[in-house]
Symmetry: C2
Subunit: 354 residues, 2 copies
């Protein structure tokens, strides 16, 4: 029935979870992590192009729902994402997400995509990209503390982007470590399962913490962190949720995505609001040094920022030209005469009656 | 292939434009406007239950893209909406929108729906609901100035909810007026096409202004507004976009949705930031008077607020139980083991290879 056929502006490409799995599988996880890191690096290098705001968070006892918008003046992107640490108890994800790209000139959405998988990928790509600038030269061994849904992506991103060859795994739940070890078994990394955080960090030049409790936790204490380490702290990402003892922060050079947001959500919420930090984009753009000595302790206080999602959405949009894993959604009303929205409804009603 | 079958938590009901047209047609426009007004009134009466924030706007030369979130502690809702006055030049809508309801307890989205049509409906329902409290007793005639995409909905909402029987139409573009008159021809309203705003407001007890220029405009001047009129000002809804001469505002009692947002976007952006206004919810809840005399000029300075969208989303969610016009979208990654997101991708890749 022609009257119900969506018009030319009404359709928005939609990438489902299954589409995204196929896109990742066809691209290859490690290649896609490298590609995403390139897109993120490119966007961070043009940091001033973006409208930036801390994400808009709706906190509740159980977790948080956030909207993360940004725009470069031509393209607008936003992500919906939740964080609910207790979700895994009944089989749900701690973090789920979806996102949209839109044209700034018309306000019309141009892409709707699942972002649970994509967020996992971009988070790991951002960590490893930061790691490439901050880790000690020749780093080959990473401790991976917290072996949940994000851990495989972190290990593979540091392999693909930083060249590590060994991961030392620890989680308070053995089964999580076994799952991670199993998933990485044929991934080209040497895997060492450890009995404690302390054991995991032995001989590691990079320490990634990725735990999900919504509380002030101390995954690492000061005496565990030796000179020259790069710490990649992923798990602390909302008010009241941190992983590191503040003494570690005080002797680290701290790198952040967007200070206005990280001071609310990151490890540095434990420090004075004017504690010096370096913005990652400045390092990527050559405007601030990364690691300055082999003895320095560097810390990437990762919380995730809207520009990373923008980069990931941009990547998916480009990738769909090669791998058209999407369906068109009839999301936007598109009457023949744009002022005749009501007439469109009426004609649809008449078509039903006939 | 069972491996790609979405799990129980992965599917989100999606209401397309065509679904929404069928839902509106089956329900009937006027009944749905009345229903929406009831949902909005109920939510406004429990105003304190909601987390409220001015919408998050990304302004550009051509328009604005906004995110409008709110939550009542159990359910979270947000709308994506744009406003681009020049869009009609190439056949696009000035305003398009979509929205999401989610569970606060898990952060999982439970409904994704087109909201271009739904916004048109809820905007009109809110206007007429406010009108019911603010118009002079026995009002039967409404001037409708600006005859674009929102105008049919306004006329029908004031008929269905306030009992008007006559609309007096004016638009700077004759064709818009003819379109509106044509669409309303069999709608049970007496229709008077007018040659000017001045002519349109003759004998009208309610004046609705709904124009879309993104600039300070003066659709009504002070001398045009007689005693006892209710003005329903829809078109001014972003910084720099107003419709009324400030002198009209100064002699009106002004009613707003959410002052923090209206002072940025509404007609009252032309007034001092402490100019007194009454919040609509207070009127609905019996905490502030509506119209106080037959001579008073009342003004609803409508900009649209997130709680109205929440009510509209809640209505659609309830309505889908009776009229199941939706399809399930595979939007949320749902691995068997929630910590094994990576394993889900890997198994999908293996399934493709086989």
């Amino acid at each position: 029935m022609s009257i119900a056929t969506p018009g030319p502006y009404s359709l928005v490409p939609f990438v489902s979870v299954d589409d995204m799995m196929r896109l990742i599988a066809d691209t290859g996880v490690e290649k896609m992590l490298r590609d995403l890191a390139d897109y993120i690096e490119d966007d961070f290098k043009r940091w001033d192009s973006f409208d930036k705001t801390p994400r808009i968070a709706a906190h509740s006892d159980d977790g948080v729902i956030e909207l993360m918008p940004t725009s470069d003046g031509l393209t607008y992107g936003f992500k919906y994402v939740n964080g609910h640490p207790l979700n895994t108890r009944d089989g749900r994800q701690t973090v789920t997400a979806f996102g949209v790209l839109a044209d700034v000139a018309t306000g019309y959405p141009r892409l709707l995509t699942e972002m649970t998988l994509l967020t996992a990928m971009r988070t790991a790509a951002t960590s490893a990209l930061a790691g490439r600038y901050l880790m000690p030269q020749g780093a080959r061994v990473m401790a991976m503390i917290g072996n949940g849904a994000q851990s495989e992506f972190q290990c593979l991103a540091f392999k693909a982007i930083c060249g590590i060859d060994t991961v030392r795994l620890y989680d308070i739940d053995d089964r999580a470590t076994q799952k991670l070890a199993r998933n990485l078994a044929d991934g080209g990394l040497r895997i060492v399962e450890c009995a404690s955080s302390q054991q995991a960090i032995e001989g590691a030049q990079i320490v990634t913490t990725c735990t999900a409790d919504k509380q002030y936790a101390t995954i690492l204490t000061d005496n565990m962190v030796g000179a020259g380490i790069h710490i990649n702290a992923i798990g602390g990402d909302c008010p009241g949720k941190t992983e590191l003892h503040p003494d570690i922060l005080r002797r680290s050079r701290i790198f952040v995505e967007f200070p206005e947001q990280t001071r609310i959500e990151g490890e540095i919420q434990q420090l004075d609001p004017d504690h010096p930090v370096t913005e990652l984009w400045q390092v990527f753009a050559g405007q601030a040094p990364g690691r300055q000595s082999s003895a320095e302790v560097t810390l990437f206080d990762s919380v995730g920022f809207a520009v990373e999602d923008f980069s990931a959405l941009r990547y998916i949009r480009d990738r769909l030209k090669v791998l058209p894993y999407f369906t068109d959604l009839d999301l936007l009303a598109d009457p023949d005469d744009p002022r005749d929205l009501y007439g469109m409804i009426r004609r649809r009603a008449e078509a039903v009656e006939v």
